[in-house]
């Protein structure tokens, strides 16, 4: 891959990738680490041209983030008694907190298609390449994800009243 293609891909896609991974993992730091790792791998052994490079980097980043998430869960179970005391997020307004809660409570496969569509603006066929499922299945997932998001949001809204 040429340096120019790599840099263009990085500048076009890094931000969306971090947003998708943040939503997927619920952890900004993990998201940034996974995104950087994916771009590093793209530079070293990814496809030479776009748009294949875009799908490739999203797929790799997703796998890296999910692996890291598993490790973090294992660590969290091990360190369950040593959590820091203050988990408040005073800078976040109610809507932001509610969206995060709703997204976190979705099924992972629904969550990832929703985030890929929202932030990376990928088509159904492109999302299918990233998540390794058939395009038709992805369309159904996307439809179900939106429905689920709406249901959960309304439920949250009802609970907050």
């Amino acid at each position: 891959m040429s340096a120019e293609v790599f840099e263009t891909c990085f500048r076009d896609r890094y931000a969306a990738l971090v947003q998708v991974l943040h939503g997927l993992t619920g952890n900004r730091s993990t998201a940034e680490d996974a995104a950087q790792e994916a771009f590093l791998r793209l530079w070293e052994k990814g496809p030479a041209a776009r748009p294949d490079a875009d799908h490739w980097v999203f797929r790799v980043a997703r796998n890296v983030a999910l692996d890291e998430l598993k490790r973090e869960r294992r660590r969290a179970r091990r360190d369950a008694l040593s959590e820091p005391v203050d988990h408040t997020r005073p800078f976040e307004d109610d809507d932001v907190q509610r969206v995060r809660t709703v997204v976190a409570s979705m099924r992972p496969r629904d969550r990832e298609v929703l985030l890929l569509r929202a932030f990376a603006n990928l088509s159904g066929a492109e999302i299918a390449k990233v998540v390794g499922r058939r395009a038709n299945a992805v369309k159904q997932d996307l439809f179900r994800a939106r429905e689920r998001l709406r249901e959960l949001w309304l439920k949250q809204e009802g609970a907050s009243r």
């Binding site: 971090v18 530079w43 820091p84 005073p90």
Partner: protein, 370 residues
């Protein structure tokens, strides 16, 4: 009510607020990190003991050691190998294979004064030779004459170049910056920034320069802005021009001084039982003025510390000091210092139930491997 089907745009906006896009400075930091990781891995792959013959390794180390007039010593963390030197500013081998010496570069600085909506005005154009491992401080001369609105400023910069394929990108990280920008009506507008932030960056390909606004770009209706335009090149003609000499203005001063450019560190945090666990890859390499995210337990942001490494003051030797804040930037916060004499520090993580952070300095590098 959020009508997702009827108003997908609102849903998209809410998602974007919940999962915000990285800021420009984060993007540049990520770009820098990727370049650094790539170099580290390339060296790690090419630098294993098994990958080089004993004769080649010995020859390389003797050359490296002899060239810098130093002595060789094994570091505390195998397989890190150190070359301790008294001469500062040349490259330091930190891996089993000797790292090639850094290159000397020329830095050319153009100082501009910019007002929104007006053509920029070139104040100075100056160049200086920068030995490897040196940082740069730019400062104005004495106060400008009343007749000519020259800025007075002091900018301490860490300037790095990151190479991707055939192109270089220069990244300047500034700290301890202050500027007084005289207004045309005689008033002084001043800005001050301490800490560290990416002041600017730019591609060096094809003679392109990096544009830096250390105190922000010009704003409509605001005062003038100070712009630095930088070139970094291995070969450059010496330049020294100033628009203000005729007005009695002393030229801009560009100083260079050796300084620690990065360090290998080990990060550990205690858990509720008092046991230590490593909380960052070992050995973790941190760039001077870079910020690293340390997961000490729990979800983001209150389970994460953002730690920034600050070098000693410009032109002076001294300890490496660190400031940390929680992931959300809210108090409490803390700091600590490390030095070769005191390479390990144990410090409380404020905001937790008596948990501790233990940081060990494994190796400090005067210059980054090219």
């Amino acid at each position: 009510m959020m009508e997702f089907e009827e108003n997908r745009e609102r849903a998209r906006l809410l998602l974007a607020r919940a999962y915000p896009a990285p800021e420009a400075a984060d993007l540049e930091r990520a770009w820098e990190n990727i370049g650094l990781l790539r170099r580290q891995r390339r060296q790690a792959r090419g630098g294993r003991w098994r990958a080089i013959t004993v004769r080649a390794a010995a020859a390389a180390l003797l050359i490296a050691g002899g060239a810098v007039g130093g002595r060789l010593a094994f570091g505390p963390e195998a397989p890190v190998l150190r070359i301790d030197r008294s001469i500062i500013g040349t490259s330091r081998a930190s891996l089993p294979s000797a790292v090639p010496a850094g290159r000397e570069r020329w830095l050319r600085v153009r100082l501009w004064r910019e007002n929104a909506g007006l053509d920029p005005f070139l104040l100075e154009d100056r160049s200086v030779r920068v030995p490897p491992g040196h940082d740069v401080r730019l400062s104005s001369g004495r106060e400008a004459s009343d007749a000519f609105a020259f800025p007075r400023f002091d900018v301490d910069l860490v300037i790095r170049t990151m190479r991707f394929g055939s192109s270089d990108r220069v990244v300047a990280v500034g700290a301890e910056m202050s500027a007084f920008m005289p207004e045309y009506d005689g008033r002084d507008d001043h800005g001050r920034f301490s800490g560290a932030r990416v002041a600017g960056n730019g591609l060096l390909r094809g003679g392109e320069s990096a544009h830096l606004y250390p105190f922000g770009p010009p704003r409509e209706g605001g005062g003038p802005a100070l712009k630095l335009e930088l070139w970094l090149d291995s070969a450059m003609a010496e330049v020294a021009r100033s628009a203000g000499l005729a007005n009695g203005y002393e030229p801009m001063v560009i100083e260079t001084a050796p300084r620690i450019q990065g360090a290998f560190l080990r990060w550990e945090a205690s858990d509720s039982t008092g046991a230590w666990r490593i909380v960052k890859d070992r050995p973790h390499f941190q760039l001077t003025r870079g910020t690293v995210n340390i997961l000490v337990g729990g979800p983001y942001p209150r389970g994460h510390l953002n730690v920034t490494m600050q070098p000693p003051p410009f032109g002076r030797r001294g300890p490496l000091c660190f400031r940390w804040v929680w992931g959300d930037g809210r108090p409490p916060q803390g700091g600590f210092c490390l030095s070769e004499q005191q390479p390990t520090v144990v410090t409380p993580i404020h905001g937790t139930n008596g948990r501790l952070l233990r940081v060990t300095l494994l190796e400090a590098l005067d210059s980054l491997p090219p």
